[in-house]
Subunit: 337 residues, 2 copies
């Protein structure tokens, strides 16, 4: 087992070049890279690097915990993949690798994270799908593992967070619909006990209240985060003897299914029902065009990674800034509402 110094000595090239070759940097001559990789193999540098990680207490890996399951990722959800790209842009500056920690929706997220912590293979963690109360925050805090949450929670251990502006979306959507004369407005509550559902629906309720409009309980639709979920909500709306004249939602994966279901029922967005939704790469071909909120997932990923690094002693210096922020969303006006 050899260290990087022995490897460099053996090859008679600089430690810096060896390091850059091992880390797959583009500015290393391909022949050199090949020589380094072969020598690393032969001299057992691989095993040595693992030892180095243990000694330094640093794995060079950042984990991103996300929920999977046929009703979520099996339905074409591409949100996280886009965020990953932004995160990796930042991590690449420091030779850190990103792994996605895939927690199946049939599993308990707390037990899953405990196992992951036990394995000890990540230096820091990004949490998503934050619940109203979220024990994962306390677990990571107890283990002194730096983390950031993509999403808020009533649980608060002082960690940094970034959250999309679900309350801002509620305000803009409700004000827009009220201004257009709507009085019977429906909302789609995102699945499960995710915190964002509470933020969005409660703010919709309070904004409508300031206009003397009540958000009726039967107008709060529960939609699974998928095209099938949006389709099911559309069928539920279509079956109503009297249906709301407008719908607002914040989960982009519902939108195309909602359109499809409404279309099949002869209900045209923007004409028979107003819709204010969320944009994604897949909503741009809808007809009528969607009025919806948009954001750069790449930029969101960059901000997540930079804020996380500001929590890690080794990187702290380079990253200073806001530890907690609500991420603004931009309304793109279409024909739907």
């Amino acid at each position: 087992m050899k260290g990087i110094r022995q490897l460099a000595d053996h090859l008679d090239i600089s430690i810096g070049t060896v390091s850059r070759a091992l880390n797959g940097k583009a500015d290393v001559n391909p022949q050199t890279r090949q020589r380094v990789l072969e020598a690393a193999e032969k001299l057992g540098y691989v095993a040595n690097q693992s030892g180095r990680s243990l000694r330094k207490g640093s794995t060079g890996v950042i984990g991103f915990m996300m929920q999977t399951g046929p009703e979520i990722t099996g339905q074409g959800d591409s949100f996280f993949m886009s965020v990953f790209d932004g995160v990796q842009t930042v991590l690449a500056r420091h030779d850190l690798d990103l792994v996605a920690l895939l927690c199946s929706s049939s599993e308990d997220p707390d037990a899953y994270l405990q196992r992951t912590v036990a394995r000890g293979f990540a230096d820091a963690i990004i949490l998503s799908a934050t619940r109203r109360n979220d024990a994962r925050f306390e677990l990571l805090d107890r283990h002194k593992i730096p983390f950031i949450s993509l999403g808020r929670s009533l649980t608060d251990v002082g960690q940094p967070w970034i959250d999309l502006d679900f309350e801002g979306m509620a305000e803009i959507a409700m004000e827009r619909l009220v201004l257009a004369g709507h009085k019977d407005i429906g909302v789609i509550w995102p699945h499960g006990d995710l915190n964002l559902g509470h933020l969005f629906v409660e703010r919709c309720r309070s904004v409508l209240g300031t206009h003397g409009i009540r958000l009726r309980e039967e107008n709060i639709f529960r939609g699974k985060p998928s095209e099938a979920g949006g389709y099911a909500v559309a069928k539920e709306i279509a079956a109503r003897p009297s249906r709301p004249s407008a719908i607002a939602l914040v989960n982009e994966t519902l939108v195309t299914g909602l359109y499809k279901g409404l279309e099949e029922a002869g209900i045209t967005p923007g004409k028979d029902i107003a819709i204010v939704g969320r944009h994604s790469p897949h909503t741009q071909f809808l007809s009528p065009t969607l009025t919806g909120f948009n954001l750069s997932l790449h930029d969101l990923g960059i901000a997540l990674a930079e804020t996380l690094l500001s929590e890690m002693p080794a990187y702290r210096q380079a990253y200073e800034g806001l530890r907690r922020r609500v991420w603004p969303m931009m309304l793109i006006e279409g024909a739907s509402g």
Copy 2:
């Protein structure tokens, strides 16, 4: 630091129940689970589990290596997320966790995998994005790490593989288009040096050859695997003084962008140009409807995981079957070609 036995003794409940609670099984009483997790925390079971992994030489983690990057996953690609769901269905039977090893497209995949192997945190690996020649196969083989490749390569170390039937798609698409009278047929070559591009385009060429039709070099379009890539190909086609009368492609992420670009140029699929493509959750709302190949990504994930487990001594017994197979694709007829 305590083992599971000490934890069970401390709580005065069975080891089995403790294990099920730690692994997040649904059939454990919530209060019991809470007690177990708290005791595990308090008694330091977390650290102990890590120790156990080292002793057994087993991490309980399966890695799935995939390419990321703004041009791939940043564009709404949801293929892998759906496959993950199938993989996790199988791994859950054995309390194995799946992590996604995210290799940025700006990185060298060989060096990336070498680092990952060095970290030693996966018991077995699923490789995707197989290249024409793929040194990763040899790396894993040398380190005796069980793996399966989603995709073939000229490199062959005897590992199991599953690959989509790109040659079958080429045959069905070309025969269909030739039968419809097309003589000037274009194909979209998937990006980079991925093996599937060679398989698809070469088989298109040979099938057309049997009908005395030549696949012209200028009719081989290079499309990045994204909606933007499909859009760019559409613009390229529209700009041609004489354009092919039909297009075949195998990358589903191109389809909606291709449609959009053609639509903007006044070229209607199925009327002005025939298209045989690939379905995804996002192609179902296209108009005119797409003629394209489809498969169950969930079932593909199940097959990948089961075949991989058949390579691992601890699980081999339960999984016997084909080690290498071409995964059939189903043509769904639409109005586009």
